[in-house]
Symmetry: C2
Amino acid sequence: MAASTLTEVARLAGVSPATASRVLNGSARKPGQDIAERVRQAAASLGYIPNAQAQGLAKSSSGLIGLIVHDIADPYFAAIARGVQEAAREQRKMVLLATTEGAPADEREAVAAFAARRADSIVIAGSRSSRPEDQEGNAGLAAELDRYCRNGGHVGVVGHPVVGATATGGYHVVPVPNEELAASLAEELAATHNGDFVIIGGPEGLFTSDDRVRGFQRGLSKAGRPPAEVLRSAFNRSGGYEAGLALAARIKAARTKAESDGIKGAGSDDGDGPAASSRICIFAANDVMAIGAAAALRSEGLRIPRDATIAGFDDIETLRDFRPALSTVHLPLEEIGRQATRSANAGAETGDGEEAPAPVTGHVTLRRSTETHG
Amino acid sequence: MAASTLTEVARLAGVSPATASRVLNGSARKPGQDIAERVRQAAASLGYIPNAQAQGLAKSSSGLIGLIVHDIADPYFAAIARGVQEAAREQRKMVLLATTEGAPADEREAVAAFAARRADSIVIAGSRSSRPEDQEGNAGLAAELDRYCRNGGHVGVVGHPVVGATATGGYHVVPVPNEELAASLAEELAATHNGDFVIIGGPEGLFTSDDRVRGFQRGLSKAGRPPAEVLRSAFNRSGGYEAGLALAARIKAARTKAESDGIKGAGSDDGDGPAASSRICIFAANDVMAIGAAAALRSEGLRIPRDATIAGFDDIETLRDFRPALSTVHLPLEEIGRQATRSANAGAETGDGEEAPAPVTGHVTLRRSTETHG
DNA sequence: CTGTTAGCGCTTTCAG
DNA sequence: CTGAAAGCGCTAACAG
């Protein structure tokens, strides 16, 4: 029992399908009042629902926005997705979701699937990678994206342009000043922290991570500090946890040594904590990693900010209640999602009209996790 | 410059569109090796991407799964969404996302939109409501859903059936034993907590919340305890926060009174905390509310579990690093999403074949937030 | 095994 | 202002 069709509605109303179409779905031309009413009644009584596929086929436009994320359950992407969803709603479009774990090959596939569905635009969130093993995948992704653009598609990318994409039009990037913000964070941190800094970054080659690491180092150097050591692990909580474990071992070893050397202030569980100068400040390239690292330290009996201080990046909302409150860099994730979606659509709609939105910006947010009490 | 079509590919390969279709997209019949290769080459050289809309129109099936959630940025829904996404992938389908803030009218609209796109199935997550103001919306939603099912659609609902839905087939519910689990939680809590219990629930009429509240009360009564007072607020973090503020005021007032009454043990900031019997145990109907409540208590200078204990429900992954670790009821959210998706599809595919999956179950997980130290 | 012929449901010229 | 006709791109019966 299939849904009723326009033709059926038209027949019931005693008009032609063309007329029915004109009244039911927007058209420049407006049929007469009486006829219109009859059609509407017929449609209602039949419970008519237009077949979007057919409409799409006829108008060659689908009312779909494709969204590509690494993992929808990651709060970073979830926040962006919410923004995309909002913007989609404004445009009276629906969003098609694809999750790829960040694998370029999967992203390519997702783009192809979106293209097949004739998505009006595609939004890609999630860090691009330039790792050697991703070279091939990236090339494929770029090619697919180019093709999509060439066929009239519009894409909005969060953060970094897709490497190798050459399409001239239909390409929109929402730049996120990761490097600058990380530099500011480092500078602000350096103002109160006298000890060493250690960075927990994602795998080398992940642009977002690399930018943040680079920016942090730059900020450090601007503050007259030596570069921080960089630990690499997965760009998620468990990566942070692992790195945190390694750091915990190191901190404990240092403490033990200090104790046997008889240095005062390098107390154990109940003292004032290590001397300010021996305490390290950890910068994790994103909040989720920072939380993982903090959990690892805690599980090793270390306390923050007493035994080590830590900062993240993103200012994930769900993590805001975490204690000690995490110092981080606030990013307007939802807004970023909205902008990526809007910019892609602007291209699609007005051929690049609209006023440019204010560029995305964030701000350093120092909280308890990096307090140097005293 | 539109994408190239099957016809073009066929022409280039010197075959008929039908043949090209047979080789490019699966068909029971398999063209000859030579011809197939020629077609494949032609397709590749033209960068052919099948038009899913056209395919859908012709086959009347879209390869789409509609997912309805309250808010994709809420970790509860994000987790379910991930499960849905996974299941969708298994079925080689894509997921269409709709967020509704839980408003039945919006949900109805979303169902209509999915129906218009001829989604093969629809998954609805997010508590149903029976509040008076939602009556009308619910009826509309039910009607829309029924129509969708009657037209051959399949729907999977998480938790509670949609009120008023009467369609006989195509309807699948993944039951979540909220009530039973909440009862178990209450019982386990009652085993060690001697003071009063207070429940922070969502608005009355939200099934999920009501089930949990009811279950908790039942567990309490089974443990020989009087029913707990129920505070109502929004079913999210800020609802929890507000309720937490109210409770904090109450706790502080009680403490002040106790102090002036000279009762020992009702200490202030650094004592042993209130006497065990005067400390309340808070049950928030979901983790996010619990976190909000905990934040409120903390902001009022109260500590958990010293001044009050608290438990939530869901065991949200992102919140697992929260300290004190939150006692809660673990729910396999991702699995729930998967099952809802699979069950809907099972109906769609085999007319209800497949072996039934193990019913969803959860388990009480007691952690630090409800420790009664001693 | 291949090609031909009809549509799927809707929009959109183009006549009337 | 309305209706008739011609597709959008693809699949699915039928023939050959």
